[in-house]
């Protein structure tokens, strides 16, 4: 009996506040927009029965998503931004993780803390910090003009480049930590063996270190890719009006256009888009656990 209650408490909570809300999103995605409160149709009505209710639902909103190219472009551009920024995060994060794993052992806890500290700091503030750096009269332009690289300020804020910089910056710890933990476990004698057998440093790195840190690279990449796909704060603060990301479109559809059915349909498609990377990520984690 006690066991039943213990299981039931979190179970019911998650059913009520996680699963049921999804069912509602799905239902509203299949409804029509209406000038009413709440602004969609049909409303569920016990008196009319379930069959009549289901008959009113249709895929109109999803058809609409394929017809208006705003949505297509937003999905594609979110995918593009997520892929490119994951790549750059890996490019920036790998050398840092590598340096940490090769650092003297007594430094490592401190270095680790230095990576984790930004992670505990407000996300919003870290994105905001870049607004002052990247603006036309910002610190980056001041610096570049001072050392004489450019004579005119570059426009970076409110472009896609600013979005990339913001993503790499805020998601860097998510890449560093898994890669570091893979590299730290790596047995140094394997690299020595490769070098003894005639590999150059670079070949040894390419043939031994990279493959052995693969699980860390994959885990880090998914930890960046998955949340970036639905990112809202970074594109809306650092991006421009032409920065299309699906999280931003959903937000605007809901708050500005007040078109709840279309916003819900956007959410459903975003979720379907995420299923593949999430499943792949899960599989990678399982493989890693089995290896240990």
């Amino acid at each position: 009996m006690r066991r039943f209650v213990l299981i039931a408490i979190p179970y019911v909570w998650l059913l009520a506040l996680f699963l049921v809300p999804f069912a509602i999103v799905l239902k509203i995605a299949l409804s029509d927009a209406a000038v009413a409160r709440p602004p969609y149709f049909p409303q569920f009505d016990w008196a009319e029965g379930i069959a009549a209710f289901i008959a009113e639902l249709d895929f109109e909103n999803f058809v609409w998503l394929t017809e208006d190219d705003l949505y297509w472009k937003a999905y594609l551009s979110s995918l593009k931004i997520a892929v490119i920024s994951t790549f750059f995060t890996l490019l920036a994060g790998y050398p840092i993780a590598y340096g940490m794993a090769r650092a003297p052992e007594e430094w490592r806890p401190t270095l680790m803390m230095l990576v984790i500290l930004p992670f505990w700091t407000s996300f919003l503030i870290r994105v905001y910090a870049w607004m002052g750096i990247l603006s036309n009269e910002g610190f980056l332009n001041q610096f570049l003009m001072w050392i004489g690289v450019i004579s005119e300020p570059l426009t970076i804020l409110n472009t896609n480049s600013a979005v990339y910089i913001g993503i790499v910056y805020t998601y860097l710890p998510f890449m560093i930590l898994p890669v570091y933990s893979a590299l730290e476990r790596l047995d140094g004698s394997l690299i020595e063996a490769a070098e003894d057998l005639g590999c150059s440093r670079l070949t040894a790195f390419w043939l031994v270190t990279i493959p052995l840190s693969k699980t860390g690279i994959i885990a880090g990449s998914f930890l960046v890719f998955i949340p970036v796909l639905g990112e809202f704060v970074i594109p809306s603060l650092l991006g421009g009006s032409d920065t299309l990301m699906i999280g931003k479109v959903l937000w605007e559809e809901f708050f500005s256009n007040r078109d709840w059915p279309v916003a819900s349909a956007v959410a459903v498609v975003l979720l379907l888009l995420l299923v593949i990377p999430i499943v792949l990520f899960q599989r990678n984690q399982q493989k890693q656990q089995e290896a240990e």
Partner: protein, 271 residues
């Protein structure tokens, strides 16, 4: 140090410079006299003074702290139970669905979580305000707590619990006297994680809050949309300092505890 060390030194220096320079600039320019954030015009603490007189920000900060304390405490209780059930509960009906519901919110885009909860609250006619934000934050934070706590439960030696039961403890006593003290560090870090997540959250709070409850991130976001402002820099500096002090204290405490545990284990071995 090996031959590659210059490369490592350079990549570490550049990497940490990249991570920290933006925050350092933010902190320095919060003490700037000028309203223009990017031009230095002398040292001043006036923005801190203005911040402390800005009632909208103070109210929002109060709401945020209230939400964070309530939601992280509830999330810790629910998340610890969920972790215990997942690791020790054995087989039960719908276990796969349950573990799915624990892991799914971790990878769910915030816009979707926010939207779905809002639609639920409207559907059941719940007035949006502090209460609905607490419900929303508790739901996603409990999943983080349960992941943290279950990773500790998995590694812990089950025979300790069994010994307590054999010696006449009831299951509840065994949990309170044996299990809880051992998983306590994980429970505490789960609470801290839940607290920070709640403090930090903009998207879910924006969906689930009503006109009566504005949290600090919502306030910051709407101010920041109009551009950089020295007041926000001052506020950011305060938040960064709190986090820095907290993280350093926590890591010192853990270090101390690990050292003590080692000493105790060594003493036990000698005995």
């Amino acid at each position: 140090m090996n031959r590659m060390s210059w490369f490592n030194a350079v990549s570490l220096t550049l990497g940490f410079a990249f991570l920290y320079i933006p925050m350092v600039i933010l902190v320095i320019f919060s003490f700037n006299e000028s309203k223009l954030v990017t031009v230095w015009a002398g040292f001043s603490t006036k923005w801190y003074g203005e911040l402390l007189e800005n009632e909208a920000f103070l109210n929002a900060a109060w709401v945020t702290i209230k939400v964070a304390v309530f939601s992280s405490t509830m999330a810790t209780v629910l998340g610890t139970i969920a972790a215990y059930v997942l690791v020790r509960g054995g087989r039960f009906m719908g276990r796969t669905l349950f573990s799915g519901m624990i892991y799914a919110p971790l990878v769910m885009p915030e816009v979707i979580t926010g939207l779905s909860l809002l639609l639920l609250f409207i559907g059941i006619g719940l007035d949006r305000g502090v209460f609905t934000i607490v419900l929303a934050h508790t739901t996603f934070a409990m999943c983080y707590v349960s992941v943290v706590v279950s990773s500790r439960l998995v590694t812990f030696d089950r025979s300790l619990e069994e010994a307590a039961l054999d010696l006449g403890c009831s299951p509840a006593e065994a949990f309170r006297l044996v299990t809880l003290p051992i998983i306590a560090p994980a429970v505490i870090s789960g609470w801290l994680l839940a607290f920070t997540l709640s403090l930090d959250d903009l998207v879910i709070a924006s969906f689930t809050s009503g006109p009566s409850a504005t949290t600090l991130p919502i306030k910051i976001f709407s101010a920041v949309r109009l551009g950089v402002s020295p007041e926000i820099n001052a506020l950011s500096t305060i938040m960064i300092s709190i986090v820095t002090v907290g993280v350093i204290t926590a890591s010192l405490v853990t270090k101390h505890q690990v050292a003590r545990q080692k000493r105790e284990e060594q003493a036990a071995e000698r005995a």
